[in-house]
């Protein structure tokens, strides 16, 4: 059964606008000009129970705005959404009790107190029965390995430790739907991997539905079978990771190892040269020409090793958004800079 249903969802912000200069500044005191920024524009998707979906998109794409509407923080200006059978922005207590939203850039913990005090308060606000609270807390503390830092003042924790405490706080009430906005931002690679594996574990164990946004592609590739790409408030893609590279990046990467140096060979005629390092060459070739290119390379050169790969997802995304930005420059379209 679909747990999250989004239909024609849209959010338009009114952003005050003025010309540079003193006269314009004074003028704007009296007559403000507003510009409509469509942060989210007619988005549709559904998410089934237990799915982990990755939201991808550049800054200002509308990812966070979408998550905020789904968690009931923002009222949309168009469209409908149902999560767990509720309309999120009505913010019914029954709904809020079953979801959680984690914002990597913000802290919900009491800064001057040990994390365990914030947890206790969270338990009280969510009205969690004492026995359940203790059991969940013990479990989370063990899984996240935060036992030693529980009694330290939150302000003294490292970013990684704090983030794990934030995650613990947002899971104490065992939410059925989780919105994770940049859960690994700023923490080191090892900690990212640990947080990631924890999220995966939580999903498997409790069957929680998770929507995740991240700048780190590794988060998305490790956790999400399904990707939704948003740019400038519009949904560009919704499907699996392989399908994404299929659709967005119609090229392959050919890597060859040569037994002798071949500086004068016209690699550029075959495909775009990504790197040419002594006897290792990487070429980007349109998918349709990959077979022909491989054959040509094998006949022309003495090749020790040859692999044909899909491009890394980072490159795919870069290509999608990079291409978009260039088009925009050409059309001199205003970029949506309001709430991301």
């Amino acid at each position: 059964m679909a747990q999250i249903e989004v239909e024609h969802l849209g959010k338009t912000f009114k952003v005050p606008e003025r010309e540079a200069g003193l006269v314009a500044s004074i003028g704007s005191l009296f007559r403000r000009k507003y510009r409509d920024v469509r942060a989210v524009d007619d988005i549709n998707f559904t998410v089934e129970a237990g799915e982990i979906v990755g939201f991808l998109g550049p800054n200002g794409a509308g990812k966070t705005t979408t998550l905020k509407m789904l968690s009931g923080l923002l009222h949309p200006t168009a469209g409908e959404a149902r999560v767990l059978g509720h309309t999120p922005w009505k913010r019914e207590a029954d709904y809020l009790r079953r979801i959680s939203m984690l914002m990597g850039q913000r802290s919900q913990l009491q800064w001057d107190l040990p994390a365990v005090d914030s947890f206790y308060m969270h338990g009280a606000v969510y009205d969690i029965p004492k026995a359940d609270y203790q059991q969940t807390l013990d479990e989370l503390v063990e899984l996240l390995a935060i036992g030693p830092v529980l009694k330290k003042q939150v302000r003294t924790l490292s970013l990684g430790e704090r983030m794990k405490c934030e995650i613990c706080a947002s899971l104490l009430h065992r939410p059925a739907v989780l919105f994770l906005d940049e859960p690994t931002i700023g923490v080191d690679v090892e900690m990212q991997a640990r947080i990631r594996s924890f999220i995966g574990q939580y999903n498997r164990k409790h069957g929680a539905t998770i929507i995740l946004t991240s700048h780190y592609m590794a988060d998305v590739t490790a956790l999400c079978k399904r990707i939704i790409v948003i740019d400038q408030g519009q949904l560009l893609f919704d499907g699996s990771l392989p399908a994404l590279s299929e659709k967005m990046a119609p090229f392959k990467v050919i890597k060859i190892d040569l037994d002798a140096k071949c500086d004068d060979y016209p690699f550029a005629e075959i495909g775009e040269v990504i790197s040419c390092d002594d006897r290792k060459v990487e070429l980007k070739v349109p998918k349709a020409e990959a077979a022909a290119a491989t054959a040509k390379l094998l006949t022309d050169l003495s090749v020790l090793d040859l692999t044909i790969e899909d491009p890394p997802i980072e490159d795919v995304i870069k290509q999608v958004f990079g291409g978009r930005a260039q088009r925009d420059d050409a059309e001199t379209t205003e970029t949506a800079g309001a709430s991301a």
Binding site: L74, H75, A93, D94, R106, V125, S339
Partner: protein, 259 residues
Amino acid sequence: MLLFARISVQNFAAYRADFFLRGIMSLVQLAAELIVVDTIFHNTETLAGWRLPHMLVLVGVYRMVAGGIRIYIVPNMRRVLEDIREGTLDFVLLKPVNSQLLVSIREFVFWRITDLIYGGTAAAIGASMLAKDIGATQIATFVFMLAAGFAIIYSVWLALATIGFWFIRVQNIEMVFWNVFEAGRFPVMIYPYWVQWSLTFLVPLAFITTFPAGTLLADPATGVPAAAPYYAAGIAVVSVLLSSWFWRFGLKHYSGASA
């Protein structure tokens, strides 16, 4: 609510050394106010019908109310404004409890309790200087009037904080508030008629200091109408309902700080 108070006391415990210094500070504040009153009564017998003991009660009530506002109302509303500006109101809105309730009880400035003690003492001394005894009914009415006054002040503050949804920078509002509130140190009857009218109906300051003190004194000379408790109850209910509606309306315009 007790839980939040506990957290505040815990937060405060970290800065215990300040406590005594701050206690002395608020005593000095009260002393300054009393000196003003004393000076006035060196020159005149009554102030719009209020005599020295009356004024002591009023100043005591003023200090208690100001203390109450600083203990609970202002710190919470200041935090709401901050949360709106920084987008941290998100965390309040995510909680499965009434958002207005939650934003109203998070902060608790413990050390301002001294204001309640000093103000209460001043009012008690003033009352004991009066020739007649004060009955239980009067005290009950007085407590009721104080409660109504707090409800009104709370609503005014909630409305001010709600304005923050549209105008992000409204910090100065607190200064404006205290400047207007200052007027409550004197009975509203001393002001020109139009100011009296404004302080009763526009900014219902009369209901917050003058009228509670007046009901405790129950002296017709003070010019506090006998029906004041009924007015107070009416205005309190209306302002609580209006401000609560305004808060919910404001929430729809909350856009969150950009993340």
